[in-house]
């Protein structure tokens, strides 16, 4: 085992990542199955409740029809999981004081933080994708046994769910959550929520000072304000509507801000770790 493997295994064990991925994947599959069943019930009339006349469930048709739903959901659940990890990865070490032990080892703070980011951006998505793919496959294989249709079509687009480009766009969010994890005194999640509320209320306050009073809801949904609407527009346009060269060029300054923020946040994370002596 080399250094990198040692550091990654430490993260996996400390955050119980394997078990947590498995549990949350099972929840996700349960969610998909529930969705499937509810959708099927909706389509079955009372006459069709006779087993012989029940339309056989066709896994391939279903997968093709709901491919986007299945893997968009997978992507969202993965984001949730990554957020949980980023919120706890630095805080847990501080809470149980083990950071003193880890920092007494010959590993620089930069490498320690970089390893955590590697877990967030690469290992969790890959682990999540593998476990979810396997569980979804297994679940629908069971459906196939029931309906005696054994051919299963695996849509190619499954693998496009965890695009590195999306990860880059979302990196400021993960780094911000890690900063909360590095600095929170009692609850990183509460600190993250409070930080977000401070941004929203600051926008509102500035608007009021400038004589443009509005409601907090308007600021929250991005209809008023200075920074927050830009952030919402940036993410809505690129993540929701998809990419194009023109759009990317429109957001060149936002990308510059994103890169600068990531660098500052990374250095702050390293600095915060140095202060945990």
């Amino acid at each position: 085992m080399n250094r990198l493997q040692g550091l990654i295994i430490k993260e996996l064990l400390e955050q119980k990542l394997v078990g947590r991925i498995l549990i949350i994947s099972l929840c996700y599959v349960f969610y998909i199955v529930l969705y499937t069943i509810l959708l099927s019930i909706d389509q079955i009339t009372l006459e069709q409740l006779n087993y012989d006349r029940l339309p056989k469930f066709n896994i391939n048709v279903w997968l093709v029809e709901h491919n986007a739903f299945i893997w968009d959901s997978a992507s969202n659940w993965c984001l949730l999981f990554q957020s949980f990890y980023t919120l706890s990865c630095c805080f847990d070490e501080r809470a149980d004081k083990s950071i003193v032990f880890w920092r007494s080892m010959p590993i620089s703070d930069t490498i320690s933080i970089a390893t955590k980011l590697l877990v967030v951006f690469l290992l969790i998505p890959i682990g999540w994708l593998l476990v979810c793919s396997f569980l979804v496959f297994l679940t629908f294989l069971c459906f196939s046994f029931y309906t005696l249709d054994y051919t299963i079509y695996l849509p190619f687009t499954w693998w496009e769910v965890f695009r590195l480009w999306d990860m880059l766009l979302l990196s400021p969010i993960f780094l911000s959550l890690m900063l909360c994890s590095s600095t929170a005194k009692s609850s990183p999640a509460i600190q993250a929520i409070v930080s977000f509320l401070i941004i929203i209320f600051s926008e509102l306050l500035v608007l009021i000072i400038l004589g443009r009073p509005t409601s907090i809801i308007e600021v929250f949904i991005g209809n008023a304000g200075f920074v927050w609407p830009h952030i919402l527009n940036f993410y809505y346009t690129l993540l929701w509507e998809g990419y194009s060269i023109d759009k990317l060029l429109d957001f060149k300054y936002e990308f510059l801000v994103l890169v600068v923020y990531n660098v500052v946040a990374f250095l702050s994370l390293v600095g915060a770790r140095k202060l945990q002596a």
Partner: protein, 297 residues
């Protein structure tokens, strides 16, 4: 053996805002030495050790194995082992997991040595640390650290929270397994009595300042203790202004400590004896910081 010190602090100072945590700290640690860094709570012991290891920034000059620790922390920690409170071991890990981790990331870690040491202990390999007794955690932490081929062992209040038996076992384990011929030890504690038989040198801090640094033999030669009646203390004090009460005994008796090599000067006060390190420590703290009101510290 090289005469270069393992650790050299010259004029080290550290301020937290206006509060002075360390002021002009200067001392060396050489191979073969066991240096006790002693002081009351808040004297600056931990700050001094953390600055020595590059864990915090401080003014002045610090050289650890010839390098500046702040810039070379991770490289230096390959040759310097550090134990703070034993409760910092991750309680979710098992002994085997920690062994695998150390093996992967520490270039100076000797796995065979650890296995040999663990065989002599009752530390389980596959159980989580959270299921261990404090004694087992102590043994495991020491075994892990002593399995590193280190040139300097830095111990910061390592026995905090341990009972007397565990403290004794800790120092016994350390003595049996650490090779002082090639390395040195610096240990901080405010529990002076437990260090007495273990140290070769002493540095005593008070409010961030060094009030004494000496080798242990010189220290014991310099100070003498004598038991007197409390009502004669004022007479003794007149003849010997350095005398300070360090202990009270039944029947109106007390122990005073005198700071002098010249035993004949004070022989008249009573039977001179060798003071304990603890009493010398109390004497120095009282002499430098507190007036002798007769109250125990």
């Amino acid at each position: 053996m090289s005469t270069d010190p393992l650790l050299r602090l010259s004029g080290v100072s550290k301020y937290y805002g206006k509060h002075c945590a360390l002021e002009n700290i200067t001392f060396d640690v050489h191979a073969g030495q066991v240096v006790g860094l002693m002081g009351h709570n808040g004297a600056g012991k931990s700050t001094c050790l953390k600055a020595s290891l590059g864990l915090i920034q401080a003014g002045g000059s610090i050289e650890l194995l010839g390098l500046e620790p702040l810039k070379n922390r991770s490289k230096l920690l390959e040759s310097v082992a550090y134990i703070s409170d034993i409760s910092v071991l991750p309680d979710w890990a098992t002994t085997n997991q920690l062994m695998a981790y150390m093996n992967a990331i520490h270039p100076s870690f000797d796995e065979d040595r650890l296995i040999r040491m663990l065989k002599l202990s009752n530390v389980p390999l596959n159980n989580r640390i959270k299921t261990f007794s404090k004694g087992m955690v102590t043994q495991l932490y020491l075994a892990l650290i002593l399995s590193i081929d280190c040139r300097l062992l830095v111990l910061d209040e390592p026995t905090l929270g341990l009972d007397v038996l565990m403290k004794s076992r800790f120092y016994q384990y350390l003595t049996n397994h650490y090779d002082l011929n090639t390395g040195g030890i610096i240990i901080s504690s405010h529990q002076v009595e437990e260090l007495e038989d273990f140290l070769t040198h002493v540095v005593i801090l008070q409010d961030g300042h060094i009030i004494l640094k000496a080798d242990i033999d010189t220290l014991f030669k310099r100070f003498k203790q004598v038991k007197i009646q409390q009502d004669t203390y004022s007479d003794v004090k007149k003849q010997c202004p350095s005398a300070i009460i360090v202990q009270y005994h039944p029947k109106g008796r007390c122990s005073i400590i005198l700071d002098s090599d010249d035993e004949s000067t004070y022989a008249a006060f009573g039977q001179l004896s060798q003071p304990k390190l603890r009493d010398i420590f109390i004497y120095l703290i009282k002499q430098n910081g507190q007036t002798d009101t007769g109250a125990l510290i």
